[in-house]
Symmetry: C2
Amino acid sequence: MESRKVGILGGGQLGRMVQEAASRLNISLTILDEPVDSPAKQLNALQTHLQGSFKDPAKILELAASVDVITVEIEHVDTAVLKQLEASGKSIHPTPATITLIQDKYLQKQHLAKYNVPLADSLDCPDQEAIERIGQEFGYPFMLKAKTMAYDGRGNYVVRSKDDLKDARSKLAPGVPLYAERWAKFDRELAVMVVRSVTGEVQSYPVVETVHKNSICHLVFAPAQVGRGLTGTSDETFSTSIQERARKVAENAVASLSGAGIFGVEMFLMQDGEILLNEIAPRPHNSGHYTIEACHTSQYENHLRAILGLPLGSTAMKVQAAGMLNILGAGDKTYEACDLAYSIPGTTTHLYGKKECKAGRKMGHITVVGDSMQEVHERLLPMVMAMDPKDESPFNLDPLVSIVMGSDSDLKVMEAAAQILTKMSVPFELSLVSAHRTPERMYHFGRMADKRGIKVIIAGAGGAAHLPGMVAALTPLPVIGVPVRGSTLDGVDSLHSIVQMPRGVPVATVAINNSTNAALLAVRMLGSFIPSYLDKMTKYQENMEKEVLTKVDTLDRVGWEKYEYIKH
Amino acid sequence: MESRKVGILGGGQLGRMVQEAASRLNISLTILDEPVDSPAKQLNALQTHLQGSFKDPAKILELAASVDVITVEIEHVDTAVLKQLEASGKSIHPTPATITLIQDKYLQKQHLAKYNVPLADSLDCPDQEAIERIGQEFGYPFMLKAKTMAYDGRGNYVVRSKDDLKDARSKLAPGVPLYAERWAKFDRELAVMVVRSVTGEVQSYPVVETVHKNSICHLVFAPAQVGRGLTGTSDETFSTSIQERARKVAENAVASLSGAGIFGVEMFLMQDGEILLNEIAPRPHNSGHYTIEACHTSQYENHLRAILGLPLGSTAMKVQAAGMLNILGAGDKTYEACDLAYSIPGTTTHLYGKKECKAGRKMGHITVVGDSMQEVHERLLPMVMAMDPKDESPFNLDPLVSIVMGSDSDLKVMEAAAQILTKMSVPFELSLVSAHRTPERMYHFGRMADKRGIKVIIAGAGGAAHLPGMVAALTPLPVIGVPVRGSTLDGVDSLHSIVQMPRGVPVATVAINNSTNAALLAVRMLGSFIPSYLDKMTKYQENMEKEVLTKVDTLDRVGWEKYEYIKH
């Protein structure tokens, strides 16, 4: 059992959730923060905590005297005294050098650029003359940003046109040093939590999508639904998934820093599939709250493990999908989503024990888990709407089933599959992939399908009918083959081509032209693991039974002689 | 947000985990227990807790004065004062009447018998004369049990033969009233957590298997692996699953009690599939710890929701499988499993903050989650072995795949499927189900398959080959059909019979006689949701590629003329 004592600078909600993990592991945590009953302190009656500022060198020294390892739950701390302590041999994670680097966003980006981390271009902006020069260089709009003390959108200003140039400086806190950033016209915002061990090993959590509202984190979806279609144009974007690339960017960025702990890496997904790093937080992060309920090891526990040199915990998700909704102070409406959450399956409410409820203050969050992202959306939506009925937050869904066919002439047979999947509310994609005319596309499609989150592939083909078997050879996923009837041989040629696969590579073959059954088979495969689809399939079968029984009634009623005249 | 204050009698580990849930929901909890830093009190610095015994009426009255609702985390409390408080209008959950009933195990069983809850026979046992009479009536062995103050096996004595009769009384605490129970020769022990609302609505968690060691809970597996084969002989055991029946018994038992809260119901699964209730705990229970990591709502949160009249939370599991290992005081070895847990994915360690580590004392527990029960076993085993290398705890596994065929003459074709599943470590069952010769067996097999936890069915058939299609008509699960070649028509008759299913009921058909591909297809279906099987399939495909490339090398090396002489 762990006997070393940990001291933490800051005792807000992030500290509170670190405290929860520390209690479970019998790890002693002492908290330095102003309020006597700060969110983190509330949960720990064993220690005498310190009352004071995490910017006060004297208090930091006092904390240091009673603990073995010092860490932070906020980056705006006094690093000068931390550097002194480090020099005297105290264990501090992440290192004061890393915290200092991250406190200045411009230094942070210059550092990351050296390590080839993809970033939006940025330029130093010491005076008005520089602002105007940058306007010419970057064009409009561009971002003017405070280098320090910026969070939740504070410290950012969008220079929309030449007219904004003159007043730009005054829009940001007086005296704060500035830098400028080229406008990143991003499609979506992504984030990855990365945990770094004392020996520099990094391990990333799944990529999540973050949705901001008034520049404050509003929603998080894990995993990010970025698997739709083959995106990008370069060889790299064609053959690696966005998930893989974003994790790599985040891991490389954190690997370039020093010290142990958890890091939150925010990124932009550009319209062409490119990924740019936005910024790094050297501590647990709002976009990683979901890890408590949805991953093997929460970001909070992994932070403690990392700074104590314990083995890092698995970052894998233990559920298919998760979402997170922040509860921000909004007067009487603040807790409406929480009241609703009691009646919604898969929700876990975390309130932070904050007494004063200012507008926009982070009062808590709700995590939602589900057997599919669709289920997570259905559960989240009423809570999102309760807080703002006009909320138009995007709900993206990756396809679970992929329908492909060699030619658009097969569509008349394959559209029945699309109709069944639509009726059963299965997210799917439908496209053309020809074994003989687009072999390269087929190769990438087969190789990437599981990495894009696809669970089942339906492939239709006629005649020589190679597509289902070739795709099955390229993917470890189950492939359902639909023999399409051609103008000769009644489809028996397609059937034999698809079903008679060699030992080692199976294709799940259905009846000739029967793409309805292919879709129903796909739903059955999903239903083995997603209970809502099992229910839908059971109801579908009950309905088929009812339909026949209705005909039985009619037959009994009108007799067989007149039956043919009855319209069904 | 909840403003009512809750007081709890007892502040041990169960109270500690209630406290964790209360903190998340900003629910005020005040704890009455002797130690100043009892496990529950450690986690709550906001309240001034009460120091004293939960059997002390004065202290209970003091607690009552400062809270709105009173509950318990232990049943051995003073109920006389609770009844007074209830009469004066105080809200107490569960009711003092229920706690009183449960404190006396014999009264508890007499009560349950009135509500037709299945139980082992029991008889009052006031004196030595009664003990001897019961020996004659029940035969040997039989159980002699203390009516009150019994837990973790204390208060139970097995009377093995006539020779034990004379000393039996002295084996149990002097003066404690006794009763006797007929020996229940059970196959396994099961448990179900049931939550009861203030209005009497009951909702159960999945059935779990509990494994005791020295009469103390050692391991818990959720869900209980009781799906293997069609068990039982009565119509009821034939057409409802053990899961369904055990939940029903537990729900009926708890519905017969009064007051709200969570209840732990322990049961015996007899060898003939019958279920007997063993006993009920009117509080969170060791067998429900797993719900924190594995279910939508933990037993602790649901207890708070129930006693406060809030909506009950979903009791569904959010992972495929979970296990729980108790950490009992064992000197230097106590925390060895915890040290190991840091390196095992899917583990969450809960230590209770107890300073004194007496032998056998519950110091903590480790929950393990996984994408299959097999994964849970693989993760648990090293920790179980660390605590006791000779531990022979049973690891039961429900089949994920069911292989059926109409006749044992099909086995020579179907055994290749069994070999693949064995090689890929997929738990499966294999049996005969004939559409034409055992239609009733086929009907029950099809209807029960999903309720027994089966994910995929493989059915082999030749000639008219009705089995795959008929099973598909009876189950919502995916059915893979293997056409078995008969003595005429080369198997094309079987193929067409199996593949040409009508619209509405699909069978995933593979090549004639190719049960290898059927098994590989089943593994692909599992792999879409269980990453370890996706990895195995990917490796299988890589190996096939390597095998061919080896032959390419050989061809290049020896030339095509000599190739035929090379042995592979």
